[in-house]
């Protein structure tokens, strides 16, 4: 009689029927993320290779050709054209046909032969900072390496041999970096949208008003509404992980079950967000717009695309309020770094706290703005 979850079973039963009846929406919301996954997994590659390069070799001797071979072999540059004057070199860059122009001056090999410093001009199109950065790094490295080889020629080894080793994503594969983060955004999408819609739909129909006049308790109602979408979110997670592992070949270094376990508080927070949205929105169109609000900060301030270190100091604390921040650390941690619970319990705890906070605010708003309105 005084069960605070009164009505949970009935609402769960009904909600499951809604989901089954509206299989189209379900299918759509489950496959959309996979589509995003294909876009990000296959089409987007942040490792810059084969930058279009134009070359003006005014020197033409053996030394200059050796240097150009080194550029070509680096895989970073792709020589599309050789020109014979400065004007053409500039022109191709301005036209956007090439992003890098290499000019070897007429006295290059002479200077080298006379043990003098030889200059090479590398023009870089700065309109895309990541392309430019990569071009600068690689060209500087080639120059440095070339110089060292000439200076130490006969000696067996360099004095200092720095050997950087990339951990966790040795091939610098983009899918490895993107997909674990994308998981967070996709789950947020699916669960927040579905919950918000399922409640706002009842507002529109007037059935919510009807439910309030029955002995259903608010907790029973909310839980009955949340749980089916928690299952759907969990199913989506399994789908994403399967695709990630077997289609995109992202190796999962940590424990999948730990990932599943730590996904629960994230889903909980995302669903609570959905309820919060539904307490504000009075139509499905309004809910749609509101549901996009949390997506943007989750994309930009969570470290999903841009490192959190690049967030302006003023906005940095904001990233602590975004559930995706913690969840992305969890997914990348388990999938890429093989982290275990001792590394990630704090993120899990943070998600639990955020979720509870969101649900409390949502329940209060729901009580004040929806029931008492």
């Amino acid at each position: 009689m005084n069960n605070i979850f009164r009505g949970f079973g009935a609402v769960f039963y009904k909600e499951a029927l809604h989901v089954r009846r509206d299989a189209g929406t379900l299918f759509f919301s489950l496959t959309m993320p996979l589509l995003q996954m294909f876009l990000l997994g296959f089409a987007i590659d942040t490792n810059i290779r084969q930058i279009n390069t134009v070359v003006y070799n005014a020197d033409g001797h053996r030394e200059s050709r050796e240097l150009l071979d080194r550029f070509r072999n680096s895989d970073t540059f792709h020589v599309i054209q050789y020109v014979d004057n400065d004007h053409d070199l500039n022109d191709l860059i301005i036209a956007g046909k090439a992003r890098v122009g290499i000019k070897i001056p007429v006295d290059y090999s002479d200077h080298l032969l006379h043990q003098m410093s030889a200059q090479v001009l590398v023009l870089i199109d700065g309109s895309d900072s990541s392309v430019a950065g990569q071009a600068i790094n690689v060209s500087t490295a080639i120059g440095l390496d070339e110089s060292l080889r000439r200076v130490v020629q006969d000696r067996a080894a360099f004095a200092v041999d720095m050997r950087p080793k990339l951990l966790f994503n040795p091939d610098s594969r983009s899918p490895n970096f993107f997909l674990p983060g994308l998981t967070a955004i996709m789950l947020l999408n699916v669960t927040t949208f579905l919950t918000a819609f399922s409640i706002v739909r009842e507002k529109e129909r007037g059935t919510l008003e009807q439910l309030f006049v029955t002995p259903v308790r608010p907790f029973g109602l909310l839980l009955g509404k949340l749980l089916p979408y928690l299952f759907i979110g969990f199913f989506e997670l399994c789908l994403i992980l399967t695709f990630m592992r077997f289609v995109f070949l992202v190796p999962i270094h940590g424990n999948v079950f730990l990932l599943a376990l730590l996904s629960l508080p994230y889903l909980f927070a995302a669903l609570s967000l959905g309820i919060l949205i539904s307490s504000k929105a009075s139509s499905q169109a309004e809910a749609m717009q509101l549901a996009f609000l949390p997506i943007l900060p989750s994309v930009f301030f969570s470290g999903y695309i841009f490192p959190r270190e690049t967030i302006p100091t003023l906005l940095y604390p904001l990233s602590y309020l975004i559930p995706a921040t913690y969840y992305i650390n969890i997914t990348r941690g388990i999938i890429l770094r093989g982290a275990n619970i001792t590394h990630l319990w704090k993120d899990g705890l943070a998600l639990c706290i955020l979720g509870t906070l969101l649900l409390t605010i949502a329940a209060r708003r729901f009580h004040n703005k929806v029931i008492m309105a």
């Binding site: 609402v11 009904k14 129909r205 059935t207 006049v213 029955t214």
Partner: protein
């Protein structure tokens, strides 16, 4: 309307000095009424006059700003949960789930009230039979016509065998046949001791109620049986009688009638005019005066006030009192 300090046991609803304020706005102002078991209680009033607010307070959804309310003997301030167990509620838009079938809608509401499986089955069969829903049980609720939706909604509200049902404009947008069938059903159920609290804008429905009350901007200005309201002195001012003038040319007749001395008010009802006249004016004199203005008069006869007349008169009087207060 006053002196309701008797114990609340016998009545379905006892509201005493019920008030509700939203900020400085007084939505319900010192409203008292009593609904006996088995009555069909018609609760009328213009939109925005506080009908829904009263229902929300009686069903425990909205806290009371003042006064008390007992529903089925339970204080709504302390026992809202128990009240909701015992009442049924049907909203004007028949809050059904359109993507669920008839039987699924019934099953859902049955489970909400925690009916045990065998009892739920029995009740669903009874409801389906009483409402004639048999051929439609596997149809989606959204595919039903208005009348059937209404029957299903009523069925959902009655699954748990409540003794008191709140029906908020149950016949809005329903065809006349379905409307009559619903009222037949209400009479039958009220014969079994079930109480109905019905809001409506239809005067013919108000006439069918065994007890009506009229709320006007938060104030209850009429409360009683339809017949007792018709006899109120405010509705029948001393020295006046109400007549029905039947004429083939109502529009012109109305214009002429309003110009005649001794006619206090006149309004058109179909092929006739309802007028309130001085009782010093005999019916024959009235006929002659109208015919002098070349208005053909078929018949003039005395008339008892309709409920609409009652509510219109009371509203005017109440407005006048409000304005007098303001000055």
């Amino acid at each position: 309307m006053s002196g309701l300090s008797l114990p609340a046991n016998g009545s379905a609803i006892v509201a005493e000095n019920l008030s509700r304020k939203f900020g400085t706005f007084v939505a319900v102002n010192d409203v008292s009424f009593r609904v006996e078991k088995g009555e069909i209680f018609g609760f009328l009033g213009p939109n925005g006059s506080g009908k829904t607010t009263v229902i929300k307070m009686l069903t425990g959804l909205l806290p009371l700003s003042g006064g008390t309310a007992h529903v089925e003997g339970l204080d709504v301030r302390t026992s809202a949960e128990e009240v909701r167990e015992r009442i049924g509620y049907m909203s004007q838009n028949f809050s059904l789930y359109n993507d669920l079938t008839v039987i699924e809608n019934l099953t859902f509401y049955g489970r909400i009230y925690s009916l045990p499986t065998d009892q739920l089955k029995r009740r669903i069969n009874e409801i389906v039979e009483v409402n004639g829903l048999g051929p439609y049980i596997t149809r989606l609720a959204g595919k039903l016509s208005g009348g059937w939706k209404q029957r299903l909604a009523l069925g959902c509200a009655m699954l748990h065998e409540p003794k008191l049902l709140f029906l908020d404009e149950p016949t809005a947008g329903i065809d006349p046949v379905a409307r009559r069938q619903l009222w037949d059903l209400l009479f039958e159920l009220s014969g079994h001791g079930i109480t109905f609290f019905v809001t409506t804008h239809y005067m013919d429905e108000a006439e069918r109620c065994s007890h009506v009350a009229y709320i006007y901007y938060g104030k209850l200005i009429a409360d009683g049986t339809p017949n007792s309201l018709r006899e109120l002195p405010d509705v029948n001012p001393q020295g006046t009688i109400r007549v029905e003038i039947t004429t083939p040319e109502v529009t012109r007749a109305l214009r002429s009638a309003r110009e005649l001395p001794g006619i206090r008010s006149a309004t058109i009802f179909g092929q006739s005019i309802h007028a309130l006249i001085d009782d010093s004016l005999s019916l024959d004199t009235l006929r002659h005066r109208l015919e002098d203005k070349s208005v053909a008069v078929a018949e003039i006869r005395p008339l008892a006030p309709s409920l609409e007349d009652v509510f219109v008169e009371l509203t005017y009087k109440h407005q006048a009192a409000l304005e007098a207060n303001r000055e």
